[in-house]
Structure formats: C-alpha cells, structure tokens
C-alpha cells in the first residue's frame, strides 16, 4: 500500500508537468492576450492604446515571446526558485495573491463542505431507509429545486430577500463597518449574518447531489444479507446502518474526494462572485478571462497538485474503506 502511494507520488511529477503544459496552452487558447483584455476594459472608459505602445508593453510583459519560451520561463521559475511569477493585472507576485485568498477560501469551503455533509448524510440515509416516505419526497423536491435554480439567481434572490425583509447588508462576509475591524462579538454576529446565504446557496446544490447518490447506493446495500446479520446481533437500527451498508455506500463519495480539494479553489465561483465573497474562485475566473496568465497558470497548477493529492487520498481511502479493493 505504501509502496503504491510512493509510486503514485512519483507519478505525480510527470502528470503535473503534463497538466501545467496543457493548461498553460489552454490558457492561451482565447484569442489575444492580457493586453487585449486590458485594452477591452480601457476602451470602456474611452481610452485607447496605440499599436506601438502595445508592442512595447508586450515586450515588457514578455508576451511577445513564443508560448513555449513563456512556459519555460514560468515553470523554471517555479521549479528553480519557487517563484510563480507576477500577476499582470494586480501587479503583485502571484504567490502573495493566492495566499491572501486562501484563508477565506478555506474557511468558506470547509464550512460549506461540513454543512453539506452534515446535512446530506443524515438526509440521504433517512431517504434511503424511508424510501417514498413524505420526508423522502420533501428532501427530493427541495434538492432538485436547489439544483434547478441557478446559484446565481438563488443568491440574488436571497440577497434581495435579506435586503428587503431583514434590511441586512448583503454580499461579502462582513458589513462595511466590520471589514478590517478587530474581532468582537459584533463582528462574529455580523459574520454569521452574512454566512447563511452562501452556505444555503452552496448547500442547496451540493446537498442535493449527495443526498441522491447516497440514497441510491444505500438502497442497494440495505437488502444485502450481511445487514440482516448485523440486525440479528441486536444492534440498533442506527448502528446497523451506519456501520454496515453506509460504509459501502460511501464508496462513490470517497471516489469523489479527489475533487474536494481542487474545489476549494475553483468551486462555487459564480456564487462567490454574486455574493462578493473574497475567495479564490472569482480571482481565478478573472485571471482566466483577462488572460493574466501567470496568475491563472499558477492557480491551475495548484489545483492540479490538489487534484492529484485528492485523488491519491481518495484511492487510499477507497482501499481503507473496502478491503476488497487492493491497489498494487
């Protein structure tokens, strides 16, 4: 098993190179480069750049090099010096930007992840055990409602409601008066008042998926003979279900853990944009749209690393969860 993990860790190196190379080229797929997108936003306020100036800026940014040269500049900086380059748009080292957002990103992602799991596991189990009960149907209905309403609209609507009926400041994690303030009870309360919307928005779509999948898999397991054996021991229904079938029904979740980590970065981007959350998603989106390539590339590389780690963890967990699965 550990040998397997080691092998996988070694395999990560070429995979990462592959990922970085492919992503770097994909980032360049949209026509134009950072300057074009800059020009587009400048044109909005009536400014234009003359072609000579453009050419000069291109040279300063190194955008006139062939793509492969740019790639090697970037990747060798990372490998040799741990330098991720700097962001054209923000004019700061990429690593600063990424770390700055990681805190809140982690906080929000983990909070919503916990929320999603905390809500959907019990409901999913309930739904499977009490199939076709009223509770099951209600969960199904709300789950799909959450899926069918785009996060964007849901966030807007919730914000509108909270503005309209609770007179609460919307968007972000804090009201303006608490941004950058020291921690106090008021600030915590303010945070809580802001946090419910993102959690609901992210939660509705996330939980629905989990609930349905858990329900489906658990339903299949519930009729297996080993469940009856567990019952015959006199275990309570709760323990029977949690210790036996749920463990096997979790297999798909564990398979999907690979995505949890990269999702920390890019997940819920649209929600974050609408809700003005200071997470990494919107930053990444902007970087991609404005072709701020080192920032985007580094984000993607980071996501690649997280994906690889996530998948490895997921594979190890799979084997831990179900001894029939043996990796070699």
């Amino acid at each position: 098993m550990w040998l397997y993990a080691l092998k996988r860790l070694l395999l990560m190196i070429p995979t990462l190179f592959g990922i970085s190379l492919i992503s770097f080229f994909i980032i360049q797929l949209p026509p134009g480069d950072y300057l074009t997108s800059l020009l587009a936003s400048m044109a909005d306020s009536g400014q234009t750049l003359d072609p000579v100036e453009m050419a000069r800026l291109r040279a300063t940014y190194g955008l006139d090099d062939p793509m492969i040269v740019q790639y090697f500049k970037w990747i060798s900086g990372i490998v040799l010096r741990g330098d991720f380059g700097y962001s054209f748009e923000w004019g700061r080292p990429v690593s600063d930007l990424i770390w700055e957002r990681m805190g809140s990103t982690l906080a929000i992602s983990v909070a919503s992840l916990i929320f999603v799991w905390a809500v959907s596991l019990p409901i999913g189990i309930y739904s499977a055990v009490h199939r076709h009960s009223i509770g099951d149907h209600v969960a199904t209905f709300f789950g799909f409602l959450g899926l069918a309403i785009p996060n964007f609209i849901l966030a807007l609507t919730l914000m509108y409601v909270s503005y309209r009926y609770f007179g609460q400041s919307v968007g972000g994690l804090f009201s303006p008066e608490y941004i950058g303030a020291d921690w106090s009870w008021g600030r915590v309360w303010d945070l809580i008042k802001h946090l419910w919307i993102p959690i609901i928005v992210i939660g509705t779509s996330g939980t629905a998926a989990l609930i349905r999948i858990l329900r489906a898999n658990l339903t299949d397991e519930l009729s297996k003979p080993y469940v009856t054996t567990a019952r015959a021991k006199g275990l309570s229904e709760f323990n029977v279900i949690m210790r036996y079938p749920v463990r096997i029904a979790l297999n798909p979740f564990v398979s999907a853990i690979g995505w949890v980590l990269p999702n920390l970065i890019s997940g819920v981007t649209i929600t974050a944009i609408v809700l003005n959350l200071p997470t990494a998603g919107p930053l990444l989106l902007r970087a991609l749209v404005s072709q701020d390539m080192y920032l985007a590339g580094s984000f993607i590389l980071l996501m690649g690393v997280l994906t690889l780690i996530g998948m490895l963890i997921s594979d190890l967990l799979l084997a831990a969860l179900d001894p029939r699965i043996r990796f070699t």
Binding site: M1, W2, L3, S223, K224, P225, Y226, T228, T229, A230, R231, A232, K233, G234, L235, S236, E237, R243, Y244, R247, I248, L321, D322, P323, R324
Partner: protein
C-alpha cells in the same frame, strides 16, 4: 429407559431447579411471501417448543421453510414476507412472557432479545458477513453491545471465542477480512458471533455444512458444553441425519411449509410415521454405502495432472515486511482420470477451495503445473492463452462453495443459467427457455423458478441453481466445491444419482470437495485427504473410509456421526493432534 444414552443431555444428571418448561413456544406460525405473481405460503401453521438445555432439530426438504421459520422467530424475515398468524412466546427464568410476534420489527424490545437472548447462526455464513470489516470487529461488536466490556476485553474475548471454534492463530485471524477466510472458517466465525453473548437460545441454521467432521464434532462439543453449563436451548436446522442422531433430543420434520412429524429423536428414527420421514431415513442409509459402479480406468494419460502446486497468501506491513504468510496449498500432486470421481476431503481451511480455484486459474498458482489432456495433446493450464483458457473453462466447470455469492443478485435464475448457453451456443428464445427449464428440473427445481431472483430461494435451492449452471455446457470435468452440503438427504441422493447418471452418459469426471464422508464414499472412486495445504493420503474411497492409514484420516473417519440415536459415536472419536 433410565439410562439415557446421551451423556451430554442434562437430563442424565438432573440439575436442581432446571425445569423443562419451554423457554420458547411457537404456535401456529405462518409466513407468507407476497411475490410479484403469487403468494407463497412458505411456513404454515408451525408449532414447536424449545426447552432449556435441550436440542430440537428441524429437518426437512430443501425449501420447506426451515430457514424462514428460524428467522421469523427473531423477526428478521425479508420485507416482502408477512407473518400471517401464530404466536411466538419467549419465557424468561422468572416466568415473564414476551410475545415476540407482537413486537414491531427492529423495535427496541426485539433488539434486546436478538443476540442477547437468542443467538442466530445464518445458513450462508459466507454472504452473511460484512465484506468490509474484520471478522474480529464483527464479533467484538456483539460483545460490546450485550456485555459490559472494554474494547480490549472484547478483543481478548473475541480471540478466545475464535480459538474455541477451532480457528488456528485466532489473534491474527481476528484482524482478517471475510474474503480471507475459508468457507468453514467463516461459518465458525458466525458461530462464535452467535455464541458471543451466551444466549439462552441458539438457533443454528445448518451450522456445520462447511465443516469437516472433526471440526464439526469439536463445535458440537462446545455447544453441548454450553447447553449443559448454562441450560442453553437450541434449535438446530440440519440435513445431516447423522448429526441429528448424535445431538437431538427431539426432531421436527418439515415439508412444504408444514411440520409433518414431530417427536423425540428415538421415535423419529426408529418409528417414523410420515412417509417423507421414512424416505429421508432410507436415503440416509443408502448414502451410507458406496454406489455400485465399475471402477474407472486408471491407465493411459490422466485428464488433469497436478504437480507441485503451491499457493501462498500473506500480508505485508507498510515497510514491506511480511506480517503473516500462509501456505494455503502446498506441493500438491494429484491426477484425475477420465470418468473418475476424485473426492477431496480434509480439515476446514486446508486449502481445498483454493486448490479447486487454482485449477481454473481464478487464483493464480504461486508455483507448480497443471496439465490438461482434454484436447488431445497435453496443455499447461498455468500458461494458457486467453482463448484456450476460455475453452478450457467451458470444459472444466466449477460449482462454488458459496452458492449465494456466486449468483448475481440482479439476474434472474433464468439469466444466470442461460448465461453460459448464450455465450457458448448463442441459444435464444424458446429454445433457451426450454433448456433452462430442463436443467432446473434435472436438479429438482420447478420451472416457475426461472423468473425469480437468487435471494428469493432457500439455501439448498440456490445450491442446485449452481449445479444446474455447471451442467449447462455439457462439461468434461466438474469441480464441485461442497455442492450438496445444503441439500436434504433425499434430494442429495437424487442429485448425486443424477450426476452419476450424467457421468455414465457424458463421460464426466468430478473433483468432489466434500465434508460429508458418506457422500464421498457413495460418490467417489478415489479420495485425497488434505490437511494444512498438503495432500496427506490418497486411496480408493472404500480404503479411506474403512482402513485409513494416516492418523489425520483416522481421526476424520472416526468423527463421522452415525445416523442412529441409539449408537452415538461422535464422542468416541479419536482425536488428532498434529
């Protein structure tokens, strides 16, 4: 009869304060299955009593409703089954009466009884254990639940229990998973689990089918001791009339959902009244002798020859060090001649299944060779190419030891049996249906079974489905791993005769892995005895059964139960200590 022949029976030395009032009475129990197409009355109006320290054996035809009855007592029947009538009364020592039939399934009341007051051993231990938790935790769980113990104590007790059920290296084996256990070991784990909380009543549904006779005897000793010491009552379901004769106090005979006859063991064996009971006893006697058939030729080249076959299992820790290693099959040399029935008997866990599986390369051998002479020139099986292998596999068929696990739960019986036919011959439509029905009828199943799913059958029925599947392709060799253990004697005799008849017709050979010495004697020409991965003795069936040479074989033969309650011999067996 003042001198009771059974020294195990507490009645022989009456214990003060032990009354013989029933601890559990069942009256008029009926269970119906509401199936898609009809209602099946699986259990009809069944009544019996279980008494302290006594054993009631339930025998009967395969599919007659024995397992359903047993499960109904603990309210563990499938959701589509309904208890349509009857009373189940559990009586405590202090005279309180609990009506189990009135308790809702999975209620707190019934849970307090499950495991604690009534232990249940399931018929198919292989599928009844969770594949993803270690055997140890599954046993310890019961201990922690019903007995006040710390985790460490539970662990120690688990190891102790495993030792009592004769599992070698219990401390290590507690940490293994189900799929690393042999069939018999799983069954013993199941027994350990049921005994863990020393229940007042033990319901054992064919608890020893996968056990060799010596182990079986040890287990029965253990249970008898518990009965003696703690007054445990037992309901034992079995097909082995020898065992019934050895352990039962009373016997109930079931057929088509009814108890057709019930009475003290003496009476059933010596004065059976119901024709079915009589047929059962006759069949038992018949199986006690060898079938009369010409000896197969043993000259020329064998069909299969096995040389130096080995298989080791093991685990390594994170540093790659071997933490446990086992030689499941060790340097086995065997030949199978055309038209021969080769029996393999041996201790549970001695590598029989592993050997059988290696012959089909389901398990890759660690070393050794297997030569197949079926296609003219001999071919080495261990290095066969894929197309050859699939041809070889259609000629050499396997009947799995665990019928339940080998049937796809999502395919109907028809699909299961038809699968090899469809693949090999492309049979379709009515012709296919006809062939499947024919195969089912051969093994004594109704053609109406075709559209049902495996879980809706009794243990014996599933086993027969497995046999039907093996027969489907007109094979040359059948490796039958405990293929008849779950069948009642009359059907077993019928199936064995069928196989013999097919053998005559089709020039079949069998490798017959079995625990039931009488079956081996009846069916096999030659017998190989396995012990700890090695073949310790080979000889003709008659030789092995009557004049065993090796001490292990002697102990084995001496432990074979005698189907006569007046002449119990299991207790006088010779014990083998290696």
């Amino acid at each position: 009869m003042t001198q009771h022949p059974n020294p195990l029976s507490p009645v022989a030395q009456p214990v003060p304060g032990v009354d013989l009032a029933p601890v559990l009475s069942v009256e008029g129990l009926s269970v119906d299955f509401h199936l898609r197409s009809h209602i099946l009355h699986a259990v009809r109006d069944v009544s019996f009593d279980l008494r302290r320290g006594r054993t009631l054996c339930l025998v009967g035809e395969s599919g007659s409703g024995k397992s359903v009855t047993a499960r109904a007592l603990l309210r563990l029947i499938d959701p589509q089954a309904r208890v349509s009538g009857g009373m189940i009364t559990l009586r405590g020592a202090d005279g309180e009466e609990l009506r189990l039939d009135r308790m809702p399934p999975n209620s707190r009341d019934i849970r307090a009884i499950r495991g604690r007051r009534i232990g249940l051993i399931f018929q198919e231990p292989m599928s009844s254990l969770s594949p993803v938790r270690t055997i140890g935790t599954q046993i310890a769980e019961a201990l922690l639940l019903h007995r006040t113990m710390t985790k460490a104590e539970a662990k120690a007790e688990t190891v102790n229990l495993l030792r009592q059920v004769e599992i070698a290296n219990p401390a290590q084996m507690a940490d293994r998973y189900t799929f690393e256990f042999s069939g018999g070991m799983r069954q013993r784990a199941m027994i350990a689990m049921a005994l863990a909380c020393d229940p007042d009543i033990l319901i054992a549904d064919e608890p020893t089918t996968a056990l060799d006779v010596t182990t079986q005897a040890e287990i029965m000793d253990l249970i008898a001791r518990l009965q003696r010491e703690r007054g445990m009552a037992m309901l034992m379901i079995t097909h082995d009339l020898g065992l019934v004769a050895e352990v039962a106090d009373a016997v109930a005979v079931m057929r088509w959902g009814r108890i057709v006859e019930q009475g003290p063991v003496e009476q059933i064996f010596h004065a059976p009244r119901h024709p079915y009971t009589q047929r059962l006893l006759d069949a038992t006697l018949k199986l006690d002798s060898a079938a009369k058939r010409p000896a197969p030729r043993t000259e020329g080249s064998p069909l299969l020859s096995i040389r130096g076959l080995c298989k080791g299992f093991g685990a390594t820790n994170w540093r790659g060090q071997q933490t446990y290693a086992i030689k499941a099959v060790d340097e086995v040399n065997l030949d199978l001649w055309p038209g021969e029935n080769l029996g393999i008997v041996g201790e549970s866990g001695s590598g029989k299944t592993t050997l059988g599986r290696m012959l089909l390369r389901i398990i890759e051998p660690s070393s050794g060779s297997i030569l197949w002479h079926g296609d003219g020139s001999p071919v080495e099986v261990t290095t066969m190419s894929r197309p050859d292998l699939s041809r070889y596999r259609s000629a050499v068929r396997l009947v799995f030891q665990d019928p339940y696990a080998s049937l796809n739960p999502r395919m109907t019986v028809k699909q299961v049996i038809a699968d090899p036919l469809v693949v090999a011959s492309g049979l379709k439509g009515a012709a296919l249906d006809e062939r499947v029905a024919e195969l089912l009828e051969l093994v004594g199943l109704d053609r109406s079974a075709m559209e049902r799913y495996p879980h809706a059958f009794s243990g014996g029925q599933r086993q027969r489905i497995g046999i039907a599947r093996a027969l489907a392709l007109n094979p040359r060799v059948i490796i039958a791993d405990e293929a008849t253990s779950a069948l009642d004697v009359s059907i077993r005799a019928q199936v064995l005769d069928l196989l013999l008849e097919l053998q005559q017709r089709l020039d079949l050979s069998f490798i017959f892995i079995a625990h039931d010495i009488s079956v081996v004697r009846y069916f096999c020409d030659r017998v190989a005895v396995m012990h700890r991965g090695r073949v310790v003795e080979t000889g003709t069936a008659e030789e092995i059964c009557t004049r065993p040479r090796e001490p292990y074989t002697q102990s084995l033969i001496s432990a074979v139960p005698n189907p006569d309650p007046r002449n119990r011999r299991m207790l006088h067996r010779t014990r083998f200590r290696a």
